[in-house]
Amino acid sequence: MSAHWSAWLLAAIVGLPLAMLLVCIWKGIRERMLPLLAVAPVPALAAALVAADAPPFVLGQGRVRLTLALDFPGSILLGVAALLWIVAGAYASTYMRDTPNRGRFAACWLMTAAGCLGVFVAADMVALYLLLALLTLGACGMVMHEETPQAWRSSAVYLGLALAGEALLLLGMVMLAQATPGGSLLIRDASAVLPSLPQRDVILALLVVGLGLKAGLVPLHVWMPLAHAAAPVPASAVLSGAVVKVGLIALGRFLPFEAALPEWGLALTAAGLFAAFYGVAIGVTQAHPKAVLAYSTVSQMGLIVAVLGMGLSAKETDAPLAAAYYASHHVLVKGTLFLAVGVYAATGARRAWPILVPVTVLALSLGGLPLTGGALAKYAVKGPLGEGLAGVLANVSAAGTTLLMLHFVHRLRRSASGEPGATAPVGLLLPWALIAAACIAVPWGMYLSVPGGTVANPLAPNALWAALRPVLAGAAIAFALDRWGGPLPRVPQGDIAVAIDAAVGVAPKWGGRLERADEVLRQWPAASLALLVLVIAFGVAMWTSG
């Protein structure tokens, strides 16, 4: 009997947000849904805490079945993501209280939550695709919420790229499903059979591009700064915090870590480390604090992908767990920092310090400030990254992250509220404080369950010094840039997204040509002649090799 209820708890992870979404059809309920948003992720949190060993939840009898199951890395990410969704939901009920269309926002929020939390437990390919599609639609709705021209553009870029990525992912999954023995659609079975397939490289390429787009791997990251900066603050918090992790968890499940694939591992590691530095380089040129944070997400996602890549090339099956631990710290910290942007904007300069100090500490923890969760996270991924070039580069990127985070704090300070004595409402402060505390408490609490973890190791003096070095280096670079560096070049938000604008600009010309061709073909002589030509063409086609 106990097995029974925990499987239903897995179903409720997706079921509760979907049920709440269903009742949003009625306008009266929809308008009052905002305060209830924090309730939707509660089954997810409960499942992460108590149902880690739950049997899978299976829906359907035919050959095609939806399966939801929880593995250990998934449960870590599910728990912190659920926490972030709850906190952000509580935050949103105050922050979005007065905005028009809050009913629409609540509906999109629930769609995104259902999709995001569901992917962490999706065990078969159809469920994964279904939840990713739901997630994309909901996130698109949240990005365009404010309906400024920038929001429209960001959501269009996001939707187009997301759908393109999902199309490639679909093709890869169909190829995998064809090759899996017994017609099983489980990701676990597909991943097991993947290394031995003749089309292994094509499938891996499709999966990496499709899921990398969701995770923001350079150069597929262009939607991220646009979308995360354009969305309202609580939406950006969950988008940058939880939603980008779905690409990572899916990648971690598809990649065959039991088989050593050195070329693919090298490629992923290289791409990830490149992204880690690229995000920093572009991020320091941005002015808007949300854009800086978005580029920091690009950078951190790159690092996590590099961890997965090193694990893939060295046949380390623990790499997904280490990556999940690192990602869980990022979920919490990035969510806190985004929410802080909203809190700080409502706080006057005189009351700013109680907000600013924790924000600075947490921001630096992303770079690995000793004694914070970030240091633990960096220590946990030291194993997969190894001592070679990848490890060294990862250390250097920690310095870069510190630099970027100091730049963020610098930009944040300029966005304080006009009234010196203003304080943010309790509805914003309380959730923010809760998740800020979680940033420290949760990584420390979980550290013992991650491999390579004993309490003594990260507290050893040389470990503390090793963690402090990159932070000091980053701080030094920041100071030097501030003092002696000239103004940095202005890079537009979304950097290479300008290429998309150029492509979109040329499209109407080709569209016009096709339309004129269509008009020509729709003249009676052309169409009837085409009919006769087709008769002959079919005759010839059936005659050749017939």
Binding site: G62, Y129, A133, L163, L170, G511, A527, V535, T544
Partner: protein
């Protein structure tokens, strides 16, 4: 090999064809308001018969056969319902009932008038289309199929020009002439086949057909003629003005169902009569035309200024998907067309498109009646006054894009699997690009409808809630059609 004698339950096939036509005669004879009442009753009866046919086929596990007059083939005429026919009969019945429910508000005879032209014609011809479609699905020989095809065209053409404007009359005349050109080519092919093989019965022909010059000519003529009736690119000249100019209920039936009749015939011919005759190049040619339809149709749809024209061009594009399945069903080992995943994908796409496109035309019709125009640029804020219709339009569009759990997604999965299995990557790429382009115009309309900057537009006339409800129901049906994969029911393979 399907059975060659009348099976128990075969009478249902006769009823499936006769009941709508009896309804036509009764509606025309009784006239006035009674036409609508007769139509309603006939629709319920017809739906019941369709369900009974499906149940009989599923229960017996074999095709239903009825020999007209008890005379055996080749002299007599056989009606046959295998899995393919049953699926189409069911789908058509459901959509027709939905369209009937929708059209009650538009085509009611006004009070104080004994008989009005448009409602009488609409209800009569709706039943006639239904009967002709059923005849197309169950006919067992090629000449009966010709008669059914002509009946279908004659019933569909007047619906285009129902409002009597010059532009729709022109569209109807163009449709009729082009369709007649197509069917006369089909008849020419039939004549050639009779001349060579001495029979037109599908089952007998399947056994006798050889790749001779006359057979190749017949296959080419019949295929091309049917493509003209199905409006596959580049033979689509009549479709956009006809479907955009017709009243919304008529557009729904034209785009959703009438097109599927001639498409079903191509499937019948290629899979049942000519599986050994069609070659890889001809299948690739057919799919190539389909790919061109997808590309051109979607791009031109994106550029339309009017909603109904956009939906009509979307039909042009979706018809292309229906023809992508032919090379994917070609078994490379035996070099003949085998039913299987590709056939299932094509059928699923046909059914899903029928429901989704009907819903989209219904929603567009509601918007037109509410605003007095259907300019896409003028749709700003309509989502607030007509949320149900916008939702129906969006769900129908999402099904066409192919997002789960819609029928369009299941169809795309099956076709992609077939493309991967036969190594024909290019068709997979075409399908994925088509999905992206479809997403383009669906979200264009949705974004316009949800824009909150403008004031909510005023409604010209009150909209009957039943119309929006029917549109939403059909759209939901299309969205949930993919769930049939979970039920494990296999109808398509019966009797093949």
């Amino acid at each position: 090999m399907p059975p060659m004698t009348t099976t128990p339950g075969g009478l249902l096939l006769v009823l499936a064809v006769l009941v709508p036509f009896v309804g036509v005669l009764a509606a025309f004879a009784l006239g006035g308001r009674n036409a609508q009442r007769v139509a309603m009753g006939t629709m319920l009866a017809g739906l019941g018969i369709a369900i009974a046919v499906a149940a009989a086929v599923a229960r017996s596990g074999d095709a239903l056969v009825y020999l007209l007059g008890g005379w055996g083939v080749p002299l007599g005429i056989a009606l046959r319902a295998d899995g393919l026919a049953v699926v189409m009969i069911l789908a058509v019945a459901v959509v027709i009932v939905g369209i009937g429910a929708y059209a009650r508000a538009d085509f009611g005879t006004p009070p104080g008038v004994r008989e009005a032209r448009a409602p009488l014609v609409f209800w009569t011809l709706l039943l006639a289309i239904w009967g002709s479609l059923n005849l197309v699905f169950v006919s067992g020989d090629l000449f009966t199929l010709y008669v059914a095809l002509e009946l279908l065209t004659f019933a569909a053409v007047p619906l285009v020009s129902l409002d009597g404007r010059a532009e729709t009359l022109r569209a109807a005349l163009r449709y009729l002439l082009y369709a007649l050109l197509g069917s006369i080519l089909y008849l020419l092919g039939t004549v050639l086949l009779y001349g060579v093989y001495g029979t037109l019965d599908i089952a007998l022909l399947a056994a006798r057909v050889q790749p001779e010059p006359a057979t190749l000519a017949a296959a080419a003529l019949m295929t091309a003629g049917l493509l003209a009736k199905t409006a596959l690119f580049p033979l689509h000249l009549w479709l956009p003005p006809a479907h955009a100019g017709a009243p919304p209920a008529a557009s729904a039936v034209l785009s959703g169902l009438v097109i599927k009749g001639s498409w079903f015939l191509v499937v019948r011919l290629w899979f049942d009569v000519f599986p050994d005759v069609v070659t890889a190049p001809s299948a690739q040619l057919l799919a190539g035309l389909g790919a061109a339809a997808i590309l051109v149709g979607n791009v031109v749809a994106l550029r339309q200024a009017r909603l109904k024209l956009m939906v009509a061009y979307s039909t042009v594009a979706q018809i292309g998907y229906l023809f992508l399945m032919f090379p994917l069903a070609l078994d490379p080992a035996s070099a003949r067309l085998e039913g299987g995943g590709a056939l299932a994908g094509g059928m699923m796409h046909a059914v899903s498109h029928a429901t989704a496109k009907a819903a989209m035309f219904m929603a567009a019709g509601v918007i037109y009646a509410a605003l007095g125009h259907d300019r896409i640029a003028g749709l700003a804020g309509i989502g607030r006054v007509l949320p149900v219709s916008v939702l129906a339009f969006t769900l129908g569009g999402v099904s066409l894009i192919g997002l789960p759990p819609s029928g369009g997604f299941l169809a795309k999965w099956l076709l992609l699997a077939a493309a991967v299995a036969t190594g024909q990557w290019w068709w997979a790429a075409v399908m994925l690009v088509g999905g992206l382009l479809t997403a383009g115009y669906v979200f264009l309309v949705l974004a316009r409808a949800l824009a909150s900057g403008a004031e909510a537009p005023a409604l010209r006339a009150p909209i009957p809630r039943s119309q929006e409800a029917v549109a939403l129901a059909l759209a939901l049906g299309s969205m949930l059609l993919g769930l049939v994969a979970f039920t494990g029911v296999h109808l398509l393979g019966i009797g093949r």
